[in-house]
Each structure stands twice: as C-alpha cells, then as structure tokens.
C-alpha cells in the first residue's frame, strides 16, 4: 500500500532545486550535517565517505523523545552513538517541539565507543550484526529455490529499490521473527534504536552496491506478529512498536516542516551556513557572521534555500466492530512523514505500524509550565489499506481475477481460515448453515437455502467477446403479510458482505441507481450513487417491491441483467457497476395471496421484470396448528425466560459472515464434466415436460434463463462446501431448489404443471387457449344472433346465450367482455357501453 504514496514528492518539494545545488558544496564539511548524520557516521566510520548526501532521517525531526517516557525508557536510552535523546532534554518537547539530536550528543559520539543501548545489555554491534545477517541471509521459505547461494529476499529487494530509485524497503516483521526472534523482540521493545541501526546497515549495503546512489533508503516494518486494538493502547505501550487497524477520519493538510534554514545578511548579502532545527527551534543569528560586516539584526531567512519535509497529522478511528457495547469509538493521531503523507484518505480502512509516543502539553505557547498531561500519537512507519472497496470500484474490468484479489481484501488470519475450512468439511454444513440462517424464523427451509445460495453467489463470467454473465442470484419473496419476509430481508441485509436495505415505497429511480447532483460549493456536477450502485458486489434488499413506482422498477431491468447503471444527464454519460444481487419481497395486491390467481395477477409486477429473478418463492401462511403452537411457545418463552432459548448447533453470526466472505473471495468453483452433462440432461428433461403426448399445446417449462440460474445455483452450492468443482450433487440440489421455487410460483393452477409462460408473459398457455376458445365461441354466437347492421344486443343477453350453447365450460362476464373487445378491435362488432352491435 505504501506504493500509493504521496503525490508531493519530497525531493520535488520547494527546496529541491537548491538542495541539489548546495549539497555537494555545503555538505562535506558542514558541522551541521556531520551532526545530523552523526549516528550513522560514528557507528560506521568506514562507510562515512560513502554516505549519501543527507536526507532527513525519519526520526530526525522527532528524535527528541518526549520526556514523559523517560521513566519507562530510561533503561534503554541509546548509547551516545545514537544520540536520539539529548542528554539535556530537561524541558520536555511540546507540541511543535521536534528537535534534532543535540549537538552534545553529536560530539559525544566521536569519542565514545558505542557498544550498548543505554542501560541495557543490548549491544549495538550485536544488533547491527544481526540485522546484517538477516538482510543477507534471509530467504523466503515459500520460495522453493534450491539455489542457496542465490541472493536473499531482501538483498534482491534492495537491488530492486536501487533500480527504481525507491526510497524505502518494506520489511515483513514475520520474516524478521522467523529468522531471528531475538532481533524481532528487540525491535518491538526498542524500535527507535533498532530501526536507526537498521537504517544504518541498509545504507552501508546500499553504498557498497552503488556508491553513487544518493537517496536515503529507509526500512519500513509491517505485518507485525500481533496487532493491538486502539482501545488497549496504554502507557506501557509508549515507545514500543505497535500495529493497529482503524479508519482514517481526518487528514490535516500537508505541513512543510523546516529542517534546515539558511539566513542571508540584508546588509552585505552574506549567506549563513544552513542552521538545523534544534528541538523545534531555529536559532536565528543575531548578527551577521561575516567578520567584515557583523551588522546586528540583519539576518533574514531565505525561504527557497531552506530545506523542508512533508508532515501530516492523520486521525484514526476504531472500526465499528471493535467498539464495545455502549461505547463510542476511540481515536488516535498518526504522524506521517515524507512518502507516507496522503497515503490514506478519510474513509479508508488501514492497518498502521508505528511507534506509540507521548509528549507533554505545555499550558500555553509562551509558558514554560507543563501540564501533567500527555498527548499521544503514533509515529507512522507503514500504512496499509485493508479495505478494497475503493480499489475494486476503480477497476471495472476485473471480473474474474479472484486470485489476485485475495490478498488485498479483508485479511483472514490463519487460525480463522483453518477454523472455517474445518467447518466446511463437515458433511452437514449445508444444513447447518441453513439452520443458522435467521434461526428464529422457522420452517421456510427451502427459502433459506435459496437465500444461502444468494449469499454465496455464482461466478461472474466475462467472455472475450465482451458478453458477460452475471453470477449474482436474484430472489423474490412473495407472500402473505406477517410471514416474516421482512425479517428475513433484515437478516440477510445484516449478514451480506455489503448490503443496502431500502423500501420500495420510499425509493425513487434515482435513489436506487444514481443521480447527478450539483456540488453546492464548487458548482461541479457530481455523480451520487444510489442503493444499487452502493451495494455493488453485495445484496440490495428491497422491501415492498410491489409498492415501488413503475419508473423506479424499470431501472431495475438494466441492473438485474446487465449489472450496470447507465446515466446520461447533465452532460455526464456514465455506466456504473451495480453487480448486485437483488433480494426483493412483495405483498400480494390483495392483502392475502389468492391461490386461484397466478403470481402475476397476485403481485402487479411486469413479467419482464419477474423473469429476471432466479428464484421466486411464495411464502404462504397455512393454517397449521403445529406451526401455531411452536410460535406460541416461542413467544411465551421469549417473554418469560431471561435466558435465550438454547439454540442447538447454530453457527453464530460473526462466523457465518466470515464464512460467507471467505468463500466469496477465495472459492471459485468450476463445472465438472459430469455436472455439466447433468445440467444439460436435466434441462432437456424440463423442456420435455411441456410436451404432453397427444396434446397440441406447447407449454414452456424452462427457458435459457433457467439454465443460467441453474449454473449459478450449483456454483453457489459448491462454494458453500468450499469446493473448487461443481459436482453432480450440486446440480441435483440446484434443480430441486429451482423446482421448489417454480412449483410455487409458476404453476398453472388450471393444469397443475409448471409453465414458464406465466412468468415470462404473465399468461399461462392454458389460459391463452381458454381465451381463444371463448373468443371463437363469442364470434359464433354473434354470427348466429346478430345481423349486420341489425339491432344491438346487451352483453348479459349474449352471456346467457353463450352459456346455453356451451354448457360445458364456464364463462364469466369478464371473459366475454375481453372477447368482445378483441372482436371490436377486429372491426367485427361495435361496443357501445353494454350493447353490442354487429357491423
């Protein structure tokens, strides 16, 4: 993630032109630089000559450790060689008080032979050697190369960094631990010291490889063995290396921090030597240093010859899952330097590795009194984005790049993955998951199985030709009020990796899809995403689907099949991804479901939309005493038992969520040959069922949409088992699920067979035939009874007449009216109110 670094390159900063100009000259003998570079020089005198021009060490500005920590760290103040904490740091640094290592420290090191980290028995030399060994000899155990004489992982990395002129090397703390756990522990406990040595070692190596390399290469530690939660940070963590997760909520603007100041005499034009920042202050020369001039108060700062570094303060807040009940999220400040500036934007979920520090607060800027308070912050070493939502949204082309996505997405630690895999191996995992889904809604097992498939989803496919097939499964629940449809929806909404819950009544077309808005401040037109776009790669739950306006519903056509939302408005033409599964529920148009009518008649939904749902479930309230008793028992125990009813063998919500998201990310099942064969066979059989022997009518029992649904369902079923191949049993279960759903919704009640025409056109084949027969009968009656241009006849009379003639079938006035209207449109009769006249 570090690669997503700041747009403002330090070296291109305001000071850079001057920098390159002045450094070769000013550098070599400047005491200031010697001092600043001191620790490197002193401890590695041999490499001093090869040391690149000064580049601010990341700790240079913050090196003066706040005094508060003194008691905790007094046991390990670095040796003189380190000079991290000036011996005279009597006045604690305050807010803006980041000082350079004091000159005393710098001079000390020349004389003293540094051996130990102050107050401890940790030898600087030992640490140095350990780091050198690590860099040279660490090999990634995962690389199965037999070439033991080849370069180690980090030596290679250094080479690569040198090639691209990078400025840092990411060091995986796990690697350090695996190679030398002692070094790891030292690094955790004394990060300031150990990292400084690490940098020195790194620079030594760099200068050996390429003596002309003139950039400072830093080490960035990441991926610590353990990470803390923000809530648990406590005084004992001060000055330790910590790693924590959180969400960026606020970034300050970039603060240019002065590192080196150059003054010029306004009288004689003499330029001073660069003055380095000492404890947050620049001591301005009071008089010109030139012997001939010595004018008082004449020195002025030359801005463009000063050196600045980027700094940014970022606030990190706990993510919702870490907040205990009845608490508010905690926040912590991060201090970012140089390349890390702007690495995270507000709203990003990040994992940060850094050093926890504290500094005392001065009462006022002018007062020396120190409050007894400390402000804490984390000196950031490494930042990693853990949430990929932004990234995936930016890449519209990725559809089937599962393997690459894995490591960017929410990380599962190994134990958790093991646990999930263990779970997936259980033979009854499918049933267990079904049971765990909304455990307090009973029955409806098949509906739950369907919902489970929706949660896991099939594989999206994008052909080279550009045609794409969605992997999302859409489900519609239709049923009587009070059958806990909404609860199911709520539950899925909570469980889904990303989900939006809306109610059809309250959603407009733009609210669902996207709309163009004018930014009130800048006047720019911006795209605002609606519910469907927001639930990209998730589930969009729409309650009261039938109450939705037609306009809003028509927007769904595109979403549900093409999985995009197109916008053409206010000069913005865009196509946004909305790869979302739709879970909708609808009430019958009469408050109760009328079993005598078809689904289409019960819910007033256009058949075109209805056919886009893979599964349509009817949830009917059947008068069943057994169910009623269970309900009664449940409610009574709910009210009178303090403890929850013991749920047997149910997977808790957190595990379930983890299970689903792990499967969605990591499991991408493929159809096995026999499964594919079974699919074809089953589909053909389904189609065949429509052809009744000896019957001329053709009933469509399955359409190509169904086979797509079947593929998706079987893929989802394989995913539930964490299986990479779709097997025979998945296909069989998919057929069963589809059939159960179809049986309920697409059954033609007059014949009792499945008829896809019901869904696709809203009229069943038998109904269509009946209408035909009524029409011809009407035509015959009218031919019989009415003369051309003769007197008119009332519809009721016509009905009686028809009933007389066709005593076998029942004809309603409603049917007759439809038939007459059809005849009228043919120009056969004229219909005036209730009277029919032949023409």
């Amino acid at each position: 993630m570090a690669s997503g670094s700041s747009p403002s390159n330090f070296n291109n900063g305001p000071s850079s032109p001057d920098d390159s100009f002045s450094s070769p000259i000013a550098n070599t003998s400047s005491p200031a630089h010697r001092r600043r570079r001191g620790r490197r020089q002193a401890s590695t005198p041999s490499s001093a000559a090869g040391t690149p021009p000064p580049n601010p060490s990341r700790f240079a500005n913050s090196a003066s450790t706040p005094t508060p920590a003194r008691s905790t760290r007094r046991g390990r103040r670095p040796g003189p060689a380190k000079s991290t904490s000036p011996a005279v740091a009597a006045t604690p640094s305050s807010t803006d008080d980041f000082s350079m290592p004091s000159s005393e420290g710098g001079e000390d090191m020349e004389e003293a032979t540094p051996t130990f980290v102050w107050g401890t028995n940790i030898s600087v030399q030992d640490v140095k050697n350990a780091i050198q060994m690590f860099i040279k000899h660490f090999r990634d155990p995962q690389e199965l190369s037999n070439d033991i004489y080849g370069e180690g992982k980090y030596t290679r990395l250094i080479h690569r960094v040198l090639e691209v002129e990078g400025e840092w090397i990411d060091v995986d703390a796990h690697d350090v631990f695996n190679y030398d756990s002692d070094l790891y522990n030292k690094m955790m406990r004394y990060p300031l010291e150990v990292l400084a040595i690490f940098d020195i070692v790194l620079m030594d190596i760099v200068s050996v490889i390429n003596p002309l390399f003139d950039k400072h290469v830093q080490v960035r530690i990441h991926n610590l063995k353990s990470s803390t939660s923000m809530r648990n940070l406590n005084p004992s963590d001060i000055e330790k290396m910590v790693s924590l997760k959180g969400m960026v909520i606020r970034c300050s603007s970039i603060i240019p921090e002065i590192r080196e100041a150059v003054f010029r005499c306004i009288v004689c034009g003499y330029h001073s030597e660069p003055v380095v920042v000492d404890r947050g202050r620049i001591s301005e020369p009071t008089s010109c240093l030139k012997q001939e001039c010595l004018a008082k108060n004449s020195m002025a700062l030359v801005h463009n010859r000063c050196r600045f570094a980027d700094k940014q303060i970022v606030r990190l807040q706990e993510t919702p899952d870490e907040i205990p009940e009845g608490g508010t999220p905690h926040t912590v400040s991060l201090l970012m330097h140089d390349k890390l500036v702007d690495a995270g934007k507000p709203g990003d979920r990040v994992e940060v590795t850094g050093i926890y520090r504290a500094m005392s607060v001065r009462v006022g800027p002018t007062q020396r009194t120190v409050k007894s308070l400390f402000k804490t912050y984390i000196d950031c070493l490494h930042i990693k984005k853990t949430d990929k939502s932004r990234m995936t949204a930016e890449d519209p082309m990725e559809v089937d790049k599962g393997s690459q996505r894995v490591d960017d997405d929410v990380q599962f630690d190994e134990d958790k993955v093991e646990e999930l895999k263990e779970l997936s191996k259980q033979p009854d995992i499918y049933e267990r998951l079904t049971r765990s889904l909304a455990p307090n809604i009973w029955e409806l097992d098949d509906v739950k199985k369907g919902l489970l498939c929706q949660l896991f989803g099939g594989n999206a496919l994008k052909l080279l030709s550009g045609a794409s097939f969605r992997g999302d499964i859409n489900i519609l629940l239709v049923g009587d009020p009070g059958t806990s449809k909404s609860q199911l929806l709520q539950y899925i909404h909570k469980l889904a990796p990303r989900g939006i819950y809306t109610s059809g009544r309250g959603s407009s077309a733009v609210g669902l899809t996207a709309y163009v808005a004018k930014d009130p401040e800048t006047g720019e037109t911006v795209l605002e995403s609606g519910a469907l776009v927001l639930s990209d790669r998730g589930i969009c739950c729409i309650d009261e689907f039938d109450k939705m306006s037609d306009n809003a519903r028509s927007m769904l056509h595109e979403v549900m099949e093409q999985q995009t939302v197109s916008i053409a408005k206010a000069g913005i033409i865009a196509s946004l991804n909305a790869r979302t599964s739709v879970l909708a529920c609808a009430n019958p148009s009469g408050s109760r479901y009328n079993p005598r009518l078809s689904v289409i008649d019960n819910i007033h939904l256009p058949p075109t939309l209805l056919s886009r749902f893979d599964l349509i479930y009817l949830i009917l309230d059947k008068a069943d005493e057994q169910t009623d008793r269970r309900l009664a028992k449940h409610i009574v125990s709910l009210h009178f038992e303090d403890t929850e009813i013991a749920e047997h063998d149910v997977i808790d919500l957190a595990t379930l969520t983890a299970y689903v998201s792990y499967a969605r990310k990591n499991i991408h099942p493929k159809l096995s040959d026999e499964a594919a064969e079974e699919l074809t066979r089953g589909y053909v059989e389904m189609r065949k069922r429509g052809n009744f022997p000896g019957s001329s009518k053709k009933v469509i029992t399955a359409t190509p949409r169904q086979i797509e649904s079947l593929i998706r369902l079987s893929e989802a079923l394989a995913r539930i088992r964490f299986s990479e191949t779709v097997e025979m049993r998945d296909v069989t279960e998919a057929f069963r699920l589809l059939e159960v759903a179809m049986q309920q919704s697409a059954t033609d009640h007059s014949t009792g067979t499945i008829d896809m025409d019901l869904i696709t056109t809203g009229v069943s084949a038998s109904e269509r035939m009946r209408r035909e027969s009524v029409l011809s009968a009407t035509r015959n009656v009218i031919m019989d009874k009415l003369q051309l241009g003769g007197p008119s006849m009332r519809l009721l009379e016509l009905l009686d007449e028809m009933k007389k003639q066709n005593s076998g079938s029942e004809i309603h006035l409603h049917d007759l009216r439809t038939a007459v209207a059809t005849l009228a449109s043919e120009g056969f009769v004229v219909l005036h109110g209730d009277s029919v006249k032949r023409m």
């Binding site: 005094t67 028992k633 009178f640 009813i645």
Partner: protein, 593 residues
C-alpha cells in the same frame, strides 16, 4: 479510625495526598513502595472517601454541582454531579507520579501539577478516561434535590482549608482573597457570557438543543461537565447512562488561556476537546466515586418501602383514577397508559426488544391535543424523571437532527434529540403533521423514529459508518388516525367523555405514585408452567380463529399480561391477569372497529 486529620469535603486532594504518602512511605528518603507499582490504581484513597461518604453519611453534605451551586462552590473541593454520559472523549495520559526532589508526588485527581516537575526523570505515566456529561435531557424538576446548602458553609471551610494549605506550604491557592461571594468559575462564566435568553427560548419551542451549538451551555439549567474517571473498568460506564459522580472540582485559570495558537498542527495534537470545551464553560470533575442512578435514587428521601401488596394495589388504584380523570374518563385509555408507563425493555433476542409497549392514542386533533396532550404531559412531568416532547411537523422532520452525529472537526458527538437515557419517556405529537414532501433529512429522521419504536435502537451517525445503540424509551404518540411514521405496539382510539380539568394531586400522592412507578417497573417476573400451557393454548386457538394474528400481536398480549400482573405487584402471571389482558385487548379491538 478516629477523626480524619483532613477535611474530605473541602480538601479532598489533601486526603488523597496523605493516603499517597502513607502508601509509599515517602517521609523516608527511600520510598518503601515504588509508585510505579500502583500503575495508576488506587492506593487506599478511595476507601477513605467511601468511608466518609457512606459510613459517616457525608454524602448529603456534598454539594450537587449545578448552575446555582456553581456560584459558591470552591475549586478543589468535593462536589457531586448528576448527569448523562453524552460522549466519551477517550483516554488521557498524565504524569501520575513524579519525583520532586526526593519526594514522590502524585497528580492523580488534578489537572496541573502542584509542584515543579520539570527536571525529574522519575515519572510514571498513568491513564484516565474522559467523559463528557450533560444534564439528563428532559429531566423534570422534582428529581432535583430541594434542599439547597447555604453558601456560608463554604467560606467557613475555606478558612480551614487555607490553614491546611499553609501548613503544607501549598502553592496551589488559586482563589484571590477578595473573592468571597462568587468563585472564579462563575465569574469566568459570566464574562464569557451565557447565551442570550432568546436562544434558550428557541430551544424550548423546538425542544431540540442540537440545532444550536452544543459546545456552550445552552441555557441556564444546562451545565455540562467533563468528568475524568480513574480506576474503573470500561464496561462499567456506558454511553447514555445516568450517573452520579463524586469527585474533585478543578478550575485552573491558566487552562482557560490557551487557544491563541491556532495553527493546525497544535490543534490536531491538542486534545480537541480542550479546544472546544474551554474550562470556563465546562467544569472539570476528577471522579473519586461514581454510581449509576436508577429512578429510585431521584425520589427525595428515597423511602425504602418494601412493595407490600395492599400498598401497591392502593397506589395503583389511586394512580389509575388520576389517569382516568386526566384522560377525560376514558378508562380503557387510562389502563393502557398505565401499562405503557410501566413498560421497559427487559430482554433482547436478536432484533426483538421484549417488554416495550409503545402506545398510540388515535382520534386526536390539534384542538384536543392542546387539552389532553398538555394535561397528560404535565402529569407525566410529575410522575416520571425524564420526559421529552416531540412536535412532529413536516418542518421539524426536515430540520431536526434526531440522531447523534459525530463532528470530526470538533471530535465530538453532537447530541441528537433521540440520545436519551434508559427509561426516558418521549411523547410524539403527530396531529400537527401536514402533507408535504420530506427531504433527505426528513426521510432519515422518519427511519430513525421507526427503528426506535420497532427495535428500540438508534443509529448514531459516525459519518463513515453508523453504530446502533440500544435504547429503552417509552413512546406515546398522539395522532388522528393510526400513525405510520411511528408505528406503535398498541393503538387505542381515544374516547374522552368529559373535558373539565382535574384538580392537582397532592404532593404526597405524587410521591407515592413516583415510588410506585419506579418500584413496580423493576419487579422481576416469571410464568408458571400451568399458566404457560393456558397461554399457549389461547394463542393457538386465537390464531386458528383469526389468521391475521401474528407474532407481533402475541408479543403485545404477553407484554400486556406481564405488565398488568406487575402493576398489581405480582411477580408471576396468574390466570386472572391473563384474562384481564385478553379483556383489555377485546375492548381495544372493539374500538378499532
């Protein structure tokens, strides 16, 4: 323990110090206990205060911090503060113990070190929690203790304290000698100016304090407080809990003068709270002891009467008569209102909040609400500790911020109208709602109200994500027809038969009723297996008769049965009360027809 050698009341810090010195034995050159061993934990000081407050009943002598007492309360003295935890400002690290020369000193329970502590390298860093507390929203006047302490108490103890300080060579005396009548705190407050009266009038009409900025004391009765908590587990204090904090009031004039340094760096590093909560507007309280307040704690004199059956029944009868009179002799409505007042969420299973009983009185219009609504509201104000009103107009829905929202600029949780402590009562008047369109705020607000009444949960807006907080608010809705914005558990068409107003009940009666409501509400409840069978059979039979009955209806019946039973002081459901619940439901249904 003989008479303590220090005054816990006027010089609590002295007591803390003494205990500290005793604990580490710092009279000696080499302390017997290193202070770091405490690790911020208590060293015996709290025991002293507990003894003083509860054994020696010193609690009643401790002044309660409110705008009135603030005039004369001295800094660094012991005070108590009652309020709701409105926001948590995180942890704060402070130099807990440090070495001043050869002596160990402690900074616990104070803001600024009393001794110079610059050069000492020996220092222990400890942490404490910051809580931002406000007076409970909608707190009624009867909950405030009536007995005001005399200001002259302070001047006399001040003398005492000064003497002690002199002995200690204590340089912390911040109070100038010429200030006797008013303490520096109030002076500062007056200088900074309380908001103009017009502002407070505004907030009264809308009852929404969040529209105006919350960072200043909105009106005279509103005194927030920054409480610093030591030695207590995090789980003990939760957001929106009502607590009494007993601790040291500090006021530091030096603290007031920061903020002139406005560059971004220091602002983001300074605790934002300090910038936005200047100590001259928000007093600091270093909490020694805290206790959660239940309704009973607000009852003056808190008569600890065991709920005797006949007493409970008598009180119930009287209260019921009173409610009936208030409701224009509508007995059915009065019954439901009584049950409604007793309801509380006693369990949560998944999304279901069990035990709530929100009530919707229908058949009211603007005129009748002005009569009965006001009357009822006055009655509740006298009976319940925290009551709130919400006039549900279109404009209000579109403007008001109901949910608390995090302001990241200020790093504060801006309170919303629905940030209410457990056991609050909220009256929603829907009769003034007219047709019109809602903006996005309005839609958000209606969603919040719906979630509140259905799940007893409020979503707090943390901008990047929302956090659901469980609440327990009794909701009473007035509307013409059934309210769909705030769909209540029970809908009762209101049918008053007379309009004349009732006489005010006597104070003793009111006290009895308050006690009754508080006590009965907290009664445990159970069901015998026999009656359980009866109930189940009844439910099954009812459902066989009427398929439209669902789990919500059954839940309501059972809640009603439980509450009826409780209202008679019973702890287990009897057949009689179950029949009563069914009868009430029948009467209600009849009205709905």
């Amino acid at each position: 323990m003989g008479g303590p050698p220090y005054d816990c009341l006027a010089n609590p810090l002295g007591a803390v110090r003494l205990a500290f010195e005793k604990a580490i034995g710092s009279e000696l050159e080499t302390p017997s206990t290193h202070p770091s061993a405490f690790n911020g934990k208590d060293w015996g000081a709290l025991e002293l205060f507990r003894h003083f407050l509860f054994q020696e009943s010193g609690l009643s002598q401790v002044p309660i911090l409110n705008p009135k007492t603030l005039r004369w309360v001295q800094p660094n003295s012991l005070v108590r503060y009652r309020g709701m935890i409105q926001d948590m400002l995180g942890n704060e690290f402070y130099a807990g113990a440090y070495k001043d020369g050869n002596l160990w000193r402690t900074n616990k329970f104070m803001d600024v070190s009393q001794y110079p502590m610059g050069s000492s390298p020996d220092m222990c860093i400890w942490e404490r929690r910051l809580l931002y507390c406000v007076p409970v929203p909608g707190q009624n006047s009867w909950t405030e203790p009536s007995s005001e302490m005399e200001p002259n108490w302070s001047s006399q103890t001040r003398e005492k304290r000064r003497r002690m300080d002199d002995e200690d060579n204590d340089p912390m005396d911040l109070v100038p000698d010429d200030e006797i009548k008013s303490s520096p705190i109030t002076k500062k407050m007056r200088e900074d100016g309380l908001p103009s009266p017009s502002q407070s009038r505004d907030t009264k009409t809308t009852s929404s304090s969040s529209i105006t900025s919350t960072f200043q004391s909105v009106d005279k009765d509103n005194l927030p407080c920054l409480v610093k908590i030591y030695d207590s587990p995090e789980s003990e204090l939760k957001l929106n809990d009502v607590f009494e904090f007993i601790g040291v009031l500090t006021f530091d004039s030096e603290l007031a003068v920061e903020k002139d340094d406005n560059d971004e760096l220091s602002n983001s590093f300074y605790d934002d709270a300090l910038v936005h909560l200047p100590p001259n507007k928000v007093p600091r309280l270093h909490c020694l002891i805290h206790r959660k307040l239940a309704v009973q704690d607000f009852l003056p004199g808190s008569p600890i009467i065991q709920p005797k059956p006949h007493l409970v029944k008598e009180t119930r009868e009287a209260l019921f008569r009173h409610l009936t009179a208030v409701l224009g002799n509508d007995e059915v409505a009065a019954h439901f209102v009584l049950l409604h007042l007793l309801s509380k969420v006693h369990a949560r299973v998944d999304d279901v909040a069990v035990g709530k009983l929100s009530l919707n009185l229908t058949g009211l219009n603007k005129e009748s609400v002005s009569v009965f609504g006001t009357r009822l509201s006055d009655t509740f104000k006298n009976l319940l500790p925290f009551t709130n009103c919400m006039p549900l107009t279109l404009e209000y829905l579109n403007i008001a911020s109901l949910a608390p929202k995090k302001d990241y600029q200020a790093n504060r949780l801006v309170p919303g109208v629905l940030q209410l402590p457990e056991g609050s009562h909220l009256m929603v008047d829907e009769t003034r709602l007219e047709s019109g369109s809602l903006n996005s705020t309005g839609i958000e607000n209606t969603k919040l109200l719906k979630n509140l009444i259905e799940f007893q949960k409020v979503e707090y807006d943390f901008q990047y994500y929302k956090v659901e907080m469980a609440t327990d608010v009794q909701l009473l809705i007035f509307s013409e027809g059934k309210s769909n914005i705030v769909p209540a558990d029970v809908i009762v068409p209101f049918q008053p038969s007379c309009l004349e107003s009732t006489e005010m009940p006597v104070a003793e009666a009111l006290e009895g009723w308050r006690w009754y409501l508080a006590t009965v509400r907290s009664l445990p409840h159970s069901i015998g297996s026999e009656i359980q069978k009866v109930v189940e059979d009844d439910l099954v039979a009812a459902r066989q008769m009427d398929r439209s009955l669902g789990s919500r209806d059954f839940s309501r019946w059972l809640t009603m049965a439980r509450l009826i039973s409780s209202s008679f002081g019973e702890t287990s459901l009897s057949k009689e009360h179950w029949e009563m619940a069914k009868e009430m439901e029948r009467l209600r249904r009849e009205r709905l027809k």
